[in-house]
Structures are given as C-alpha cells and as structure tokens.
Symmetry: C2
Subunit: 239 residues, 2 copies
C-alpha cells in the first residue's frame, strides 16, 4: 500500500485540472507535537508521552463524538483528551495547567518547510484554503499566531455542520466555498484517515508522509505521496 | 470521572426495572488479547506489541469506515488492521500467517469469571443477549467455539445495518430484538467508548473495568462500574 502510494508519487504525471489546493491543518501544516515543550515544562520528562496519548485521544474523541451524534468543538475535544491523558498517566491537572496546555494548541508551529512552500504555490496563482476539524476560532488563532494568514483565501471549519472529518459531508464544505467540483481540488493531508476520507469523497489527494509512517488500510490509496510540502509545487507545476 | 463511576457502582441501589442484559462481545465477554500467544508463535517476542496495535487499529478502522460510509465486515477490518500492524512493525505477513492469526479472533477465550457469571444471571431468569460489532459468522463462531451458546437468547450483529458501534442506531437493534425499551435493558461493556454510546442511547450501562483502566471523557458516565462479570448479578439481584 505504502509502496504503491510512493510509486504513485514518483510516476504520477502532473495534474492538469487542479484549480485550488485545500490543506488539512493539524499535523499537515502545523506540528501537533510542538506542544511537547510546554507539556515537558509542566510535567518534566513526560512531554512526549503526554503529547502522543493526548493527540491519539483527541482524534478518537472527534471520531466517537461524530458517530454518537454528540458534537463538541475541537477545543473541547482537545481539553477532554488532556483530562483523560493526565488521569491515565496519573498526573495532577489543575485548571491553570489545563488552560496553558490547551492554549498551546492555538500556538502550534508550522512545519519548517511550510511557509516557503505556500509562497511558491501562491506564486503559481492557485487559491489555497484550509479545511480543518478546528473551530473557526481555533483555525483563525493558529493561522494568525503563526503569521500565515496572507496565504489563504478560505479558512473552513467543520463547526457549521457539527461533525468531524472523515465524515464525507465535511469535504463538501470545500467544494461549496470554492465553487469547484471535487476533481478540481487537490487535498493535502498528513493524516492517513483524512486522506482516505478525502479520496472516497472524490478529491485528488496528496498524503504528506514526513516521518516514514504507514498508510492506513482503509480500502483506498492517496493519489500522491510526498515527504514534505516543498514537494507539492512539483505535483501541480503543469496545471 | 473514574471515581464518580466507582461511587455509582458502590452506592447505586439495585435496579428494579431491568428485564434483560445485553453484553458486548470483544473485550467484555472474551479476551481480545488471547491472540497474543498465536502472535508470539508467528513472531517470537512480538506478541504483545502486535496484539496491542492490532486491536487499536481494528477499532479505529470500524470507527473510520462507519464515518466514511464504507462499511466492511468486522473480519475484514480485523485483517486490514493486521496488515497495517505488520507493515508498521516491519514484519513479513504471508497469507498463511494472516489466515492463522485472523482465525484466532474466531477462537477467543472468555475471561475466566465469565461462564460462572452467565450461569448465575441465567439462573436469575433474565434473558441474556450479545450485541457486537462482529459479523453474524464471527459472533456465532466465537460463542460456539467457547461452548457458551446455551446462555444467550439472542446473538445480534451490526451486519444488518452496516455501521459499527458507537453509532447509536446499533443499540436500537437490541430493543427491537428483545421487544424492550432502552431503560429496561442493562448493557454491559468493558469498552468505554461503547459504554458511552450505550449510555447516550438510553441504556443503563455497566462498565467492566478489569485492568484499572480510565474511563473516556466523552461527556457521559456509566451507571455502574464493576471489576468483573461476577459482580453483575449483585446489580440486578433485586429486579
């Protein structure tokens, strides 16, 4: 599967119909593990353990809440996941620490290659958008706090429909906002479950595999696989 | 949350309206990690690593497939999760090994206290049923292979509606099959996400916490918490 994906990236000839690029936010543009340092400051030596379990539970809670029809904001899922993580790891979590750590998710760092890659894509004349599980407030905060707002024509949140990715209804939001058909959009995500949902929806999908991860076995494969966002301009260079 | 749950178990006075008990299968009645031995035989020393990641991915795939509207059988999700796990852990997986290990999920061992507890509950005159993510074939196989079929009046699979727990529609199946209202059913599960879904649906829920786990922060709490199935007769003793 992984190899197939990589082959697709190498062999795939540049797309000729891409009219916009839509990015996932958490993990794709921004490093969710940039919270490790703050976790380590609060709980010395436990930063990586906390960050790993926290992210896993954050995702699970978005999926499970969606399935149960019990939507809450991404911020709330993030805080709930932190509570679970600290309970599980037997760490005391006071209100101040909770606030400090949850706010760290509003101040994520972009992956190092991201700003230059966005600049190159913008220079190619393509509209760039974000479609994220985050709330409107979270997406705005993360993008503004990192100074990347100038690159995006649309910041799209699942908030309006009250269900998280990879529910396929979420991907419709991008088509509606951009006025484009699914096949005219290149969707870029580092999350295999998100890439799979987007593929089922009908987007061309570029999976960003920075850390030699394994693509999930969900019955579909990404159209392209790259090691970082700096490889995305190549994919769309001939459109 | 956990403490609240435990308090509920201790303080909760016996239910007076329970007319049937519905059990989750995987993890609740049967030990999903009873596959460790076979994993270890195929990949010496890696049994626990494989079993842990395999179970986690199996669950994720049921949730993600449900959200994407791409239902497959539980057996298929189980096999897909094994493929991912072996890819991720860089272990070769040939067809024979895959078949042997996936078949292990049809021959799970019940948790030690389960047969005696089911006998006691049956003696109390309550109909006992299973409501599981497994296919009809999987549920039948696991129950028959362990010789526990005499205890259950109904074996209910999600197969008919093509979506997995905790989608709330699944829990409806138990009400329909038993001809009972949600509040007349005690639902028993060791999976916190399943217990949460069942609680949102309206069942009284008993969470089986055998291994000092932490209940998930999904906005609801179990009605009762027990350390094993042998404590369930106490809950219903006065019905």
């Amino acid at each position: 599967m992984n190899e197939q994906g990589n082959k697709a990236a190498v062999k795939g000839h540049p797309r000729t119909g891409i009219k916009a690029i839509v990015f996932d936010l958490y993990g794709t543009l921004y490093d969710v593990h940039s919270v490790v340092q703050r976790c380590d400051a609060a709980y010395p030596g436990r930063g990586i353990d906390i960050s790993t379990m926290w992210r896993q539970k954050q995702l699970e809670y978005t999926w499970l809440r969606s399935m149960m029809g019990q939507y809450i904001s991404f911020e709330q899922a993030t805080c709930d996941a932190l509570v679970y993580t600290c309970n599980r790891l037997k760490l005391d979590l006071d209100e101040t620490t909770s606030t400090v750590l949850c706010n760290a998710y509003l101040n994520l760092s972009p992956h190092p290659e991201v700003p230059a890659a966005l600049q190159r894509l913008k220079d190619m004349g393509l509209p760039l958008a974000i479609l994220s599980n985050g709330s409107v407030f979270s997406i705005d905060s993360v993008v503004k706090n990192s100074g990347l707002q100038e690159y995006f024509t649309q910041l799209l949140s699942v908030e309006r429909i009250g269900v998280f990715k990879p529910d396929l209804r979420v991907y419709t939001l991008a088509c509606e906002a951009l006025g484009l058909a699914p096949h005219e959009i290149l969707f870029v995500s580092s999350n295999a479950w998100d890439a799979s949902g987007a593929r089922y929806f009908g987007f061309d999908v570029c999976w960003v595999n920075r850390r030699d991860n394994t693509f999930d076995e969900l019955g579909t494969a990404p159209s392209y696989v790259v090691r970082g966002l700096d490889e995305v301009p190549e994919i769309v260079s001939n459109t």
